[in-house]
Each structure stands twice: as structure tokens, then as C-alpha cells.
């Protein structure tokens, strides 16, 4: 029953997101068709465009048309290149997934290492360094941080190409993710170490490594996995700045380019996918946090 309820709420939210994204063209200033033809310099006729975007329908008919489009995964055609929007997104999504999954794994491992090391010795050197690291990363604007990486590894020390390479965007994303994740791990593991189970384990003579991993890290892994689930969704849906700076041909760059070119159909499709990933990541994170926290504590 819970699964059915979750599935239904998931579908309803996705449908609302889909319709909300589709509303962009309906709510353009002035006459939407005129605005689109002017802004995008599209060669399509206004009648054809009206039918393609569903702007000849209103109210319940429009919603029914949108539900039908969602079920068929039909996002229409690009106003400029006239290519299928879904095909464009699929190609770019593979590139985004490439850097996101790599950076996610690297960032998680690095963050876990720093977090556990800091938590084992509060106010020690590693604790202070990790505080400075996370504070610095939190205060660096992402564009500027990416500039620094580009300057350092492509211009001053030319190890990697300036654009269209996966290494630097992956490095950028993983360093950012590691900073926030290490802070969370450090705080949660530190809290967990002050509880009875960890102290009792120490009193029984267990090694510090066992106390840290079994009695401090595992009880809080539900929260950590919840955070990671949420982060994955946000990363898949939102690497706009990183992809723009490193000119990595992913979904984020596609969205930014299509907004500038006023290619509204591509904007709608990409926004829908980005929002859906963020939503799925958030639900996954909540599910992991809710279901694993109690079990891990037991």
C-alpha cells in the first residue's frame, strides 16, 4: 500500500513538473508564437508551431495532451535544429552522467576519509584543516573555483586541455562534494562517538578502528546515505556552471545554450529532466534515511 502511495505521489509530482515546464511557452510575454518565432528565428510556420507545442488546445484538453506526451516521452522537436528533443537530451545526458558518477564516487571516498579522520581526533590538525577546507569551498563561487582549476591545470601547468575533457570538471565537482560530505561525516560520527555504544565498546577494549567504523559510522550511515542520494539527484540535474566553464557537452550546457538561443522546446525538455532527477534523488535520499537509520542503529 505504501509502495502504491509512493508510486502515485511520484507520478503526480512528475506530471505537475512536466506541465509546469510546458507552461513556459504558454506564458511567454505577448503572443507566445510571435515571441518564439522572433526570438529563435525558427523557419517553422506559425500554424505548424502552434500544433506542435499544443498551444491550439486549452484547459482539460491541454492537460490530456500533456499526459499523452509524457506517457509517449514526446518532447517535440528543437525549434532551431529541428532534431528530436529526446535524442538531443539522451546524447548529452550520457556525458553528464559520465562526470557526475565519477565525481560522486571520488567525492564520497575523499569526504569519508577526511570526515572519519577528523572525527577521531576532535580539534586536532585534521579537524582544523577540514574546517578550513569546507569553509573555503563553501565560500568559493563555483565559477571562480572552476577558473582556478582551469588556470592551474590547463594554463600555468598545462596537464589537461582547456575544454571538452572530463578530468577537470570531475575534479571540480568531486572537491566540492568532498568538502560538504566530509563536514557532515565529521559532525555525525563525532556525535555518534559520544553515545553509550561507542564508549562501551572502547571500555571493552575494542580497537579504535572497530569503534570508529562499527559503533560510530554505521549507526549514522542512514543519514549519510540519505544525503548522498539527494546529492546524486542534484548533481545529475544541475552541473550547469561546471559544464559551461569546461565546455563539457552535457545536459547542463545544453540547457544554458538553449535558454540563450531561445530554443524553448529544448529548454522545457531539459528542465523537466533536471527537475525529475532532483526529485528522484530527494525521494531516494529520504527513503534511505528513513529505512536504514533504525536498522543500522539496531
Amino acid at each position: 500500500m505504501t509502495l502504491l502511495k509512493e508510486g502515485l505521489s511520484f507520478f503526480i509530482v512528475i506530471l505537475i513538473v512536466f506541465i509546469a515546464c510546458s507552461e513556459i511557452t504558454r506564458h511567454l510575454p505577448g503572443d507566445p508564437i510571435e515571441t518564439i518565432l522572433q526570438d529563435s528565428a525558427s523557419k517553422v510556420s506559425s500554424e505548424e508551431l502552434k500544433k506542435e507545442l499544443g498551444l491550439d488546445k486549452n484547459g482539460f484538453e491541454f492537460i490530456r495532451y500533456k499526459i499523452d506526451s509524457l506517457i509517449r516521452f514526446d518532447f517535440g522537436k528543437s525549434l532551431i535544429s529541428r532534431k528530436n528533443v529526446l535524442d538531443l537530451i539522451q546524447t548529452r545526458l550520457k556525458n553528464t552522467a559520465h562526470i557526475v558518477f565519477l565525481s560522486f564516487i571520488l567525492g564520497t571516498l575523499f569526504g569519508l576519509l577526511i570526515g572519519i579522520r577528523s572525527a577521531s581526533k576532535p580539534l586536532g590538525t585534521c579537524w582544523k584543516l577540514s574546517s578550513i577546507y569546507s569553509a573555503l569551498i563553501a565560500s568559493l563561487p563555483t565559477p571562480w573555483f572552476a577558473f582556478l582549476i582551469l588556470l592551474t591545470f590547463s594554463i600555468w601547468v598545462p596537464l589537461f586541455p582547456l575544454s571538452q575533457d572530463w578530468v577537470l570538471p570531475t575534479l571540480c565537482l568531486s572537491l566540492i562534494q568532498a568538502a560538504f560530505f566530509s563536514r557532515l561525516v565529521r559532525d555525525r560520527v563525532r556525535d555518534s562517538l559520544t553515545k553509550g555504544a561507542a564508549q562501551a565498546a572502547r571500555a571493552r577494549g575494542l580497537s579504535e578502528k572497530t569503534v570508529l567504523l562499527k559503533y560510530a559510522l554505521i549507526p549514522v550511515s542512514g543519514i549519510l546515505l540519505g544525503y548522498l542520494g539527494n546529492t546524486l539527484g542534484v548533481l545529475l540535474g544541475g552541473t550547469f556552471i561546471t559544464e559551461t566553464i569546461f565546455q563539457w557537452p552535457g545536459m547542463g550546457l545544453l540547457l544554458v545554450e538553449s535558454i540563450k538561443q531561445r530554443d524553448y522546446t529544448v529548454v522545457e525538455g531539459t528542465l523537466f529532466f533536471a527537475a525529475s532527477f532532483a526529485w528522484i534523488g530527494n525521494r531516494l535520499g529520504l527513503y534511505l534515511q528513513k529505512n536504514l537509520t533504525g536498522r543500522m542503529t539496531e
Partner: protein, 255 residues
């Protein structure tokens, strides 16, 4: 020590930005200091341009944070006073909205209305208000469940009196806790969205537009990127330090 330095930097930087924006600096002054930081790709003196751009970003962020807090307070007040079933529905709606990153809302607005200060403002307020409103609502629920509230209600205290006497005080404490981090989030969001060309209009000046300009000449003139980014980084860092000092006690545990 770091807190004192952070406060000193904030006061110094805000004073410099205000001065450079308000005063008409003499040509002699500009020429005398022109070589210190160099020029941007349009030939404008960076020594003067960076504080002026920073001033606009700071004023904008301050306005965005004020609107966000006002919006969150209104939302929280309305939801807290709503009947139970409607309250649950509205809280679910806010939680659903929170699942979507605010940058997506910003991009959607930019696609609809094009880049402008109002688009940026709308995006920030829509992105930050739900989280703040939920914080206010949960705190209100905690306070309203206390025994002294039940006692006050039993002797006939109205909802408005309870709000005025207890809730607003608690909410004021929350605002004080969240203010530095809200301000730093607004600054970073403005820089990021203006960098993408989806925030501040291109003819104006802002930190984000300076970063966007520096990207196009990164190889030939990296000094533009470095010099425009360092004050922004220091300002946000100072705000983060202030936020952390409010949240955490000296031994590393949460207050």
C-alpha cells in the same frame, strides 16, 4: 581571532564599496592607482570597477534576503494559523518545492522573462523562502506545544497575542542565526546566475558579470578573474565564519 578578522573585512569592504560607488573619483586618483590592478577587457579601471560591481551585488543581496525573510514570515504565519488539514497539505507542498534546486527555478524564470534583476530576485526569493518558512513553522509547532501556551490559551489569550508574545521572539532568534548564511547564499547565487548570463542584465555591473567577462579573456588576462574573485571569496568566507560561530560552540559541538 578569525571572527574578528572576518568582521573587520566585512566592515572594511562594505565601506570601500560604498565610498567608490557614491564618490566621483578624480581622474588623477584613477590614473595614480590605475596600474595597481590593471584594466578589464573594456578598458575600465579594475581598482574602481570591482568595488562598484561589488556594491551593486551587495545591495541586491541585501534586498533579496530582506524579501526572502518577509516572504517566509508571511508564509509561516499563514500556515501556522491555518486549520490542521490545510496546514499538512501546505507543508507537503513546501517540502515538495524544496526538493527542486533553486537554480532550476532561476533558469525557468530566465527562460521566460530573460535576464534581469527582477528575474534574479524572483528566483532567489522562490528558492530560499520555502526552507526558511518551514524552519519557522517547525519552531512554531514546538513552541505552541509547550505547557505555558496551553495555559495561556485556557485563560483566554488570543492567537495574535501568542504570536506577538512568544513566536515572533523565537522567529527573531532564527533570523539572527540564519542571516549570515542567507546573505552569503544570495551573493553566491547572484554571482553564479549572472556568470551564466541569466541574472543581472549585461549592461549593468555585478560580481557575476565581472566573472563572466573574465572567462572570455582567461588566457590573455587572468588577472581579471583573480582580482574580481578574491574579494567575493573573502566576503562569503567572512559570512560563513560568522554563521559557524553562531551555530557552533568553541569545543566543536552544536549550540
Amino acid at each position: 581571532m578569525i571572527l574578528k578578522l572576518s568582521k573587520a573585512w566585512l566592515i572594511f569592504w562594505i565601506a570601500v564599496c560604498s565610498l567608490f560607488s557614491v564618490l566621483q573619483l578624480s581622474l588623477r586618483f584613477q590614473l595614480e592607482y590605475a596600474l595597481k590592478l590593471g584594466f578589464d577587457s573594456y578598458g575600465r579601471n579594475l581598482f574602481v570597477l570591482i568595488p562598484q560591481a561589488a556594491f551593486k551585488s551587495l545591495v541586491f543581496s541585501f534586498a533579496a534576503v530582506s524579501l526572502t525573510i518577509t516572504g517566509a514570515l508571511l508564509l509561516a504565519s499563514v500556515i501556522s494559523l491555518s486549520p490542521k488539514s490545510l496546514k499538512q497539505l501546505l507543508i507537503i507542498g513546501l517540502n515538495t518545492l524544496l526538493a527542486f534546486p533553486s537554480i532550476l527555478i532561476a533558469l525557468g524564470l530566465a527562460a521566460l522573462y530573460g535576464p534581469s534583476w527582477w528575474t534574479l530576485m524572483g528566483a532567489l526569493v522562490l528558492g530560499l523562502s520555502p526552507e526558511l518558512a518551514l524552519l519557522f513553522i517547525y519552531r512554531a509547532q514546538e513552541v505552541l506545544a509547550e505547557d505555558f501556551i496551553s495555559a495561556a490559551r485556557a485563560v483566554g489569550a488570543s492567537s495574535f497575542h501568542l504570536f506577538k508574545a512568544h513566536l515572533f521572539k523565537e522567529w527573531a532568534i532564527l533570523i539572527r542565526l540564519k542571516l549570515p548564511s542567507l546573505f552569503s547564499t544570495a551573493l553566491l547565487a547572484e554571482a553564479s546566475l549572472s556568470f551564466l548570463g541569466l541574472g543581472a542584465p549585461l549592461e549593468s555591473e555585478s560580481w557575476g558579470l565581472l566573472l563572466a567577462q573574465s572567462y572570455t579573456v582567461l588566457i590573455e588576462a587572468p588577472h581579471i578573474a583573480l582580482e574580481s574573485g578574491i574579494p567575493l571569496m573573502l566576503t562569503v568566507f567572512a559570512l560563513q565564519v560568522m554563521s559557524d560561530t553562531i551555530y557552533f560552540s568553541p569545543n566543536g559541538s552544536r549550540r
